[in-house]
């Protein structure tokens, strides 16, 4: 119960302001982290983000952590012969000089075991764990279930 309250208090309600936060770690720039509102806490949430590697060495996203979910995982939506599935992704490559999007219909963070329902306008922290660059924490904006992406001034998608 104590753990639940602590986790719930980490989810901040900020209806008007969209964070559209950009963070950097080493040669990596991480931005436009967003999620979708959920129906209750029994269904998983989702996590999308853009990562740019300006360096000359390949890196990879190997995990995510968040107080908002008991079991966050990396997934990839795959459509084969018209059938969609979402296998676990052990790691998401972030090649040197390239940008990688975790975006609808592709790679995504799957937030299983939500501590509380995600509501539009909330935000919560997610720590991204990279193979070489290490860990970086940023705020994730919760948009509506219908959203197709964040409305950041510099959104490149």
């Amino acid at each position: 119960m104590k753990h639940f309250l602590l986790a719930a208090s980490l989810i901040v309600s900020a209806p008007a302001a969209m964070a559209c936060e950009t963070v950097t770690i080493g040669d990596l720039t991480v931005e436009h982290a967003w999620s979708k509102a959920t129906i209750g806490a029994g269904r998983p949430g989702v996590f999308y983000v853009g990562i740019t590697n300006a360096g000359s060495a390949d890196d990879a996203l190997i995990g995510i952590a968040t107080p908002a979910a008991g079991m966050p995982m990396l997934h990839e939506t795959v459509v084969q012969d018209g059938i969609a599935s979402m296998p676990h992704a052990m790691s998401i490559p972030v090649p040197a000089g390239q940008s990688v999007q975790l975006s609808p219909g592709g790679y995504h963070g799957m937030l299983m075991g939500l501590t509380t329902a995600l509501k539009e306008g909330d935000s919560f922290p997610v720590t991204l764990i990279f193979e070489k660059a290490g860990e970086v924490t940023m705020n994730v904006d919760v948009l509506s279930l219908r959203a197709e992406g964040p409305d950041c001034a510099d959104a490149g998608q």
Partner: protein, 180 residues
């Protein structure tokens, strides 16, 4: 060249087996998100757009319903007579009440359908849709399922599929062809 042609001809019957049945030849009985019973005959003389999915899924299903909502907005009142339905492949978790909560986030013309497992199976067979349960650690499960959006003419004939990764610019013209 001749070889290819002969191959195609020989495979034609197999190909027609994978096309969805005309709506009028379907036989399922489902319940919508308001608790009303729905049968294929209720869709007579209406253009139809159907997508199979489930509310537990946070990626493919909301993305498709967002796309459908955008298409419906672009079509405006022209699409008011169209039946637009999400059929759940996860009736165990998707009760009409859950579906009501879910579809309320999208265009109000979208309805949710669920029902007993055997009726969902019947609908999937009629649409030539595949789905299967995939168990995850900790007792949770997800569903693999056909991700395309099915379109039918007002006379019930199958029109086309909008594939999940298809260029979205082709979607609205495809839908428009079923509206007249």
């Amino acid at each position: 060249m001749l070889g290819v042609g002969a191959y195609r001809t020989r495979n034609r019957p197999a190909l027609s087996e994978v096309l969805p049945l005309p709506i009028g030849e379907m036989s399922w009985a489902l319940t919508d998100h308001r608790g009303q019973s729905v049968r294929p005959t209720d869709w007579a003389r209406r253009p139809v757009m159907v997508f199979f999915g489930f509310t537990w899924c946070p990626d493919v299903c909301p993305t498709t319903l967002s796309d459908i909502s955008l298409w419906l907005e672009e079509l405006g009142a022209d699409a008011d007579r169209m039946i637009v339905a999400l059929i759940s492949v996860d009736p165990e978790r998707d009760t009409p009440a859950v579906l009501a909560d879910y579809v309320s986030s999208f265009d109000p013309r979208i309805i949710g359908l669920t029902g007993p497992a055997d009726e969902v199976a019947k609908a999937a067979a009629d649409f030539r849709v595949t789905y299967r349960r995939v168990d995850k650690d900790g007792g949770d499960y997800t569903m693999d399922h056909t991700a395309g959006v099915f379109l039918f003419h007002p006379d019930g004939r199958f029109a086309s599929i909008i594939d999940f990764h298809e260029d979205r610019r082709f979607a609205v013209p495809k839908i428009r062809r079923t509206l007249s």
